[in-house]
């Protein structure tokens, strides 16, 4: 561990120790503490101008207790001794009137910290404000100099944070993380013609990775948004539809993540059961991984919300279901080990979730796939974003294709508005999957996906 945030680490560790001791004194059999400290400085842009500079820091502590098989939880944003003792009493009181649920049992000892820091060395701790201002100025310049782009909101933030998990069973892990992030929301405006709002965000773990990337990503985003000003009519049909990496994440990967969640298996609300592992469940072109050790991604972590060690993991390999994402609750219920996929913060109880999903690309470049599809279908909708619902039980999706393009004979003709799409994620990733592109894209410094083409999508226009 490096020595940044040493006083805050000490405060957090002392608070955790006090909470564990207070919980035991109040009658808890076992207890687990999740704690955070974060500090950030943020410069916000609004309506083509600088808007606000802000500075925030604070602790947050959550205590989970077990009194036999009864569980209770309480949290507070204080490290004061009296507040922590009250917190422990509250958690125990809640446990004592709750019915027994042994599945909520705290996980086994997950060990101590590793000596070496998980994240690469960073120069972003208490970063000079002058340099942060220069980044904000660059973000502003890129946005306001883009013709017909209107900036609604943007920000440049530098933050440092600590994450701690400790338990009465011996787990004690602390990690620190430093990040610079930038984001922009805006639209294209040309007289009365306006596009829908769009948004992007990026992050870096070292200042050297900010400058050029900030300019390049901002310029590319503004150009994309403005392209949406050229609009025309679409048509209702059922057939092939292109889904950009962002739409793939919005619809298919977020939908799949629900069904790959161990808790869905426990509750029998998902499509798959434990016995479906090693069975072919999707098209052979589909391979999905969870990569918590991809250090350039915002979901990266060495240990999870319950202190369990994380690992890069194949979830679906060539269409075969390999693993669910499992937290301690699902592990207890399914009688399998946790996969280190407990997620959440100290203000709430842990739940299961993927850290950083990656849908692998296919074998052929997008250009070649376009040629194939347009040899079979003259006109086609290309969905860039999705605003709608994916049914968590059936996998049916229905919503508006945002920033959607209308392609004719292999060329982008114009953008379409008020176009609805519907289909089913399992069908689109199964029998109706036409192609996945070789090229992939990382969105919001987190999930990664290729372009997907499916043939079983209903497109409805006015």
């Amino acid at each position: 561990m490096n020595t940044f945030l040493a006083p805050e680490t000490g405060t957090l560790e002392q608070a955790a120790e006090l909470l564990l001791a207070s919980a035991k004194k109040a009658g808890a059999t076992h207890a687990e503490v999740c704690g955070t400290f974060s500090e950030q400085t943020r410069i916000t842009l609004e309506k083509q101008d600088f808007h606000l500079a802000s500075s925030n820091d604070g602790f947050q502590l959550g205590l989970r207790v077990m009194c036999g098989a009864k569980a209770g939880f309480a949290s507070a944003n204080s490290t004061a001794k009296d507040d922590l003792q009250t917190l422990a009493k509250q958690a125990v009181e809640i446990a004592l009137f709750s019915p027994e649920n042994a599945l909520l049992a705290i996980g086994p000892n997950q060990g101590e910290n590793e000596a070496k820091s998980f994240f690469p060395e960073s120069d972003l701790h208490r970063f000079p404000l002058q340099k942060q201002k220069a980044w904000a100025q660059e973000l502003m310049t890129c946005a306001v100099s883009a013709p017909r782009f209107r900036l609604n909101e943007g920000s440049v933030e530098v933050s440092s944070s600590l994450f701690l998990v400790a338990s009465s069973l011996g787990t004690h892990k602390v990690e620190q993380e430093h990040q610079a992030g930038w984001s922009l929301m805006g639209m294209g405006v040309d007289g009365d013609n306006i596009t829908s709002f769009d948004y992007f965000s990026e992050m870096a773990r070292h200042s050297r990775d900010v400058g050029q990337r900030l300019s390049a990503t901002t310029k590319a985003f503004c150009e994309d948004v403005v392209r949406g000003l050229k609009t025309g009519p679409g048509k209702s049909y059922k057939g092939f539809v292109f889904f950009s990496p962002r739409a793939v994440i919005d619809i298919f990967m977020s939908g799949l993540s629900t069904h790959l969640n161990g808790r869905s298996v426990v509750e029998n609300t998902g499509k798959w059961k434990l016995t479906d592992r090693e069975q072919k469940v999707l098209d052979a072109a589909v391979s999905l991984k969870d990569l918590p050790h991809a250090l350039d991604r915002s979901g990266a972590c060495r240990f999870d919300r319950e202190g369990a060690t994380t690992a890069n993991r194949s979830l679906v390999d060539k269409g075969v279901l390999k693993s669910f994402v499992v937290d301690q609750y699902a592990a207890n219920a399914l009688k399998i080990p946790s996969t280190g996929n407990s997620v959440g913060g100290p203000a709430g109880l842990p739940s299961a979730g993927a850290h950083c999903l990656v849908l692998e690309g296919g074998k052929e470049p997008l250009k070649k796939l376009q040629e194939d599809i347009f040899s079979r279908q003259n006109e086609c909708l290309w969905v860039n974003r999705f605003s709608g619902q994916v049914d968590s039980v059936t996998g049916d999706f229905s919503g508006v294709a945002k920033g959607a393009e209308w392609w004719v004979k292999g060329e982008r003709a114009y953008y379409v508005k008020e176009t609805l799409i519907s289909g089913n994620i399992f069908e689109c990733l199964g029998s109706a999957l036409a192609h996945l592109s070789k090229e992939t894209q990382v969105l919001h410094a987190s999930w990664e996906a290729p372009t997907l083409i499916s043939g079983a999508v209903s497109v409805t226009t006015k």
Binding site: T41, L52, N77, S98, N101, G186, G348, V393, L420, T460
Partner: protein, 466 residues
Amino acid sequence: MKALAQRLEEVVQSSPHWAEIRYHRRTSQTVQVQKGLVKQAKSALTSGVGIRTLVNGTWGFASTSESSPASVEKALKQAIACAQSISEMKQAKVKALPETKMARGEFTLPGYDKLSKMALSDKLSVVREAEEKTRKRSSSIHSASCAYNEMFEDKIVVTTDGACAVSQLARNEFRLSAFAEKAGDRAVAHESVGKTGTWECLFEPRSWDNLSEQAAKLAVDLAGAGRVQGGLATLILSPGMVGLLSHEAIGHTVEADFVLSGSVAAGKIGTMVASPLITLLDGGQVPGAPNAGGDLLVDDEGIPTQNTEIIREGKLVSYLHNRESAALFGVEPTGSARAWLYYDEPLIRMRNTYIQPGKQSLADIIASTKEGYLVDGPVGGQADATGEFMFGAQRVSRIKDGKIVEFLKGATISGQAFEVLSTVDAVSQEFELDLGSGHCGKGQPAKVDAGGPYIRCRATIGGIQE
């Protein structure tokens, strides 16, 4: 609270620049039961002070989790330093904030004390019973879940120009889900309510037993139901769907910060944007609909909330303002500045957004519809600055020759809000606020409510294409 308000007022009056100090303490409790097991029983406390300053026409902000005078004074200095740090970069300096009636005194909504005195264990008992009853209503139901959440808010807002408002309110939410399976076809249905007030008012007019019955019936009906044929159609939207339309597709476009960014409502004050049958408001309290989920007496800038008329008989008459945008537009602030937690900056947000009821009955509207759909059960929605919206609906019923003839699976509806509102040709006398369990997202969450009457309009409904 009074003593703390006095101390904070002393600190704010010592500021060399305009400043606003907001103390916010939130305690919340949640219980959740699924398939007979308690999944969550928790309590949370978040408290602290957020300080906003205006220095040389530039905003600065800082927060602290401590409310001692020394911590608040330190945060005030930090907020001033923040503003100064970007002051030379800001092009259009914020004008002096308008002189207006600032809130002073106590602003307490009913229900806080009564709800806080009711034991969490009693609330958990009801949640367990509701979940169990839902699960056992049909052999087709294989799982159910029920959750209850409550938040107690204590706030103090003091400003250098005279606000000193001490407020208290309690909000609660109750949610039920039923999961059904019939002949291999699965479905999920949700019912929820959210109010500002006591436990009793949460179940007025619909009891938890009634919500449970509806969730179970809907889940069973949806499993095996047919699908909508997509296209432009005549739709009768329920109060909940009207609430989504009012909030997402109209409300956001008239928030003055979005207007200044170029939303579709920019420059349209005084013009007809909807059918003359439409009058749309957003208010801190709704006449005739007490305990709404978004009730608020004073906003986070210390401005008493208005009941703001946005569209009057089809004509756009007002935007929603904070103090800064009100100064720019030369109007009074509407009491619409809200912050989620102490460390959040107040943003322009809605409270309770609704369309006023009309004179026809729902039965008459259905009877006079030759072909169309009755759309109900909002399950989320989004809209953007263009007014283009997307709403999900759990329940769709096909109407033919004035009668409901078929129950179908849920669908998505879409359109451009002002265009759709211009097609409205019938507005019911039945009225309900139905989105009290919802949260609005705009960088920060906000508790809101929305609703209205049944309205008949033309919009695109998503569905299958043959």
